[in-house]
């Protein structure tokens, strides 16, 4: 095995931690007191979007335990008294599992299909969180704000998703295992 230079090590580390770091950033951004109309409504659902998009691209760099931790962090930061802690974690883990199980239908397909997949999965996420919050606090929570959130995040998905998807395009790990390392610059694999 060849000894790597410092830059190569940094590069590898950067690649490995990038999805987690982006997710953490969006979890924190959820709390930013941004008062842009509509956009600020959608902030709490953006971490779910990030989980969906990175599960498509590189699920191996977004392992389940990390999602669990991020979901719990999000619930701790966002939730008021009595809100369930861990429901976002459950949602994240289920989104990842659903994406990984259905990669056949979601990866390498036209963007519209991915959008449709996101519509379905995020609707499931919103219903899950709404249901558990209502159950946990035992109050009838008005579902309209949650639905508005959902609609906004579905609408802004095409703006954010391609930007997040760039993480895949430059990733040497996408090259199939056997041919990795032998490929020359510019060479493509079938």
């Amino acid at each position: 095995m060849k000894a790597d230079g410092l830059l190569a090590v940094l590069d590898r580390w950067g690649r490995a931690t990038l999805p987690g770091a982006v997710l953490l950033f969006f979890v924190l951004l959820t709390l930013a007191p941004l008062r842009a109309p509509y956009l600020s409504d959608a902030l709490p659902l953006l971490p779910a979007l990030v989980v969906f998009q990175f599960s498509l691209a590189t699920p191996e760099r977004l392992p389940g335990p990390l999602l669990l931790a991020m979901g719990i962090l999000l619930d701790l930061l966002l939730g008021g008294p009595g809100a369930p802690v861990g429901v976002s974690a459950l949602g994240f883990v289920l989104i990842r599992a659903a994406v990984v199980a259905n990669r056949r239908y979601l990866v390498g397909v036209p963007f519209l299909f991915q959008w449709f997949g996101f519509c379905l999965l995020s609707l499931g996420f919103v219903i899950l969180v709404w249901g558990f919050t209502a159950l946990w606090t035992w109050t009838a929570i008005d579902p309209v704000p949650a639905l508005i959130q959902y609609v906004v995040v579905v609408v802004i998905y095409p703006l954010i998703a391609p930007w997040l998807a760039r993480v895949r395009a430059r990733d040497p790990l996408n090259v199939p295992e056997p041919s990795r390392g032998t490929a020359r610059p510019g060479e493509t694999t079938s």
């Binding site: 709390l31 930013a32 802690v85 459950l90 109050t139």
Partner: protein
């Protein structure tokens, strides 16, 4: 060699089993977290406070750019109605000047009468000015994060006010951060008075932009436009902080619009009232650039 192979086979089996049940384990862990949260609220409270304290420096760092962005958005909105706004403000200014004269006269008169009657007021309140560094607003919560905490004397239950009126109360306190629960949150219950009739009532939030008034006595006598103020019952709230005004009365419920404009909060004041207000807190110090101060205000 054979032993090693067997070991590797066994390890591979274990790995495969863990991978197969990984989803199940993660789901169980998530449910476990929820159950622990339900069973041990103190533990969750500590975890929340810890997360808050860790996140607040990051949030404070991005608060300023976010504030600039917000101001730009607000400016763009206001440009459209600059002329009307100006006319409205001029009119309001004239009206308020008349009120100021009246208030000065009444204040003097009130002071004189209090002197005559030997009236003793409750404990004086002091204010802690805080910047809002984070929103905790989602479909389920109405609140905000402040950049002040236990260090400067913030305690759970204290009132949080804006220039217009009451915003909420402190729910959780970390060392250098705290969480406000707005009056509009579904968990908020506030003992209030109807200013005109002095009738007591409870003001409850339901996560919408308006509040619900639950009267302890009768529904009669409440009119549109009645001002609702805090009654001071039940602890650390001062009496008479304006909360909102009645905008609609219907069968069995009264809707109240809060005075505080939650869509453009940037700074708030935490009212340090009662025993804590008399004992602790740096008093009379000039305000620091970050806006954190413990100025005593009458």
């Amino acid at each position: 060699m054979a032993i090693r192979d067997e070991f590797e086979v066994a390890a591979g089996q274990v790995r495969a089993a863990v991978q197969r049940f990984a989803l199940g384990l993660l789901v169980i862990a998530a449910f476990g977290a929820m159950l622990v949260g339900k069973a041990d609220t103190v533990l969750v409270e500590h975890a929340r406070v810890l997360a808050l304290d860790l996140a607040s420096p990051v949030l404070e760092a991005i608060a300023r750019p976010v504030a600039v962005a917000n101001r730009t958005i607000a400016d763009l909105k206001e440009f459209a109605s600059l002329r009307e706004e100006n006319a409205r403000l001029r009119e309001e200014n004239a009206r308020l000047l008349a009120w100021q004269t009246a208030a000065r006269r009444l204040e003097n008169e009130n002071e004189g009468l209090r002197g005559l009657a030997n009236f003793r007021e409750g404990p004086e309140a002091s204010f802690i000015t805080a910047r809002i560094v984070g929103d905790s607003v989602s479909a389920y919560v109405r609140g905000a994060l402040l950049n002040v905490g236990r260090r400067v004397g913030v305690a759970p239950g204290q009132a949080v006010v804006t220039g217009e009126g009451l915003a909420g109360r402190i729910a959780e306190v970390g060392d250098n951060s705290s969480r406000v629960l707005f009056v509009t949150d579904v968990n908020s219950r506030l003992p209030v008075l109807i200013e005109r009739t002095r009738e007591r009532a409870i003001l409850a939030g339901d996560n919408s932009s308006q509040l619900r008034l639950t009267l302890l006595q009768s529904l009669q006598g409440v009119q549109r436009g009645d001002r609702i103020i805090t009654s001071g019952h039940g602890g650390s709230f001062p009496v008479g902080i304006p909360v909102g005004e009645v905008v609609g009365t219907g069968e069995g419920h009264v809707r109240v619009r809060p005075f505080a404009d939650f869509s453009r909060l940037e700074f708030v004041r935490v009212v340090d009232y009662g025993v804590t207000g008399l004992v602790s807190g740096p008093q009379g110090t000039p305000s620091t650039p970050s806006g954190v101060a413990g100025q005593r205000v009458r």
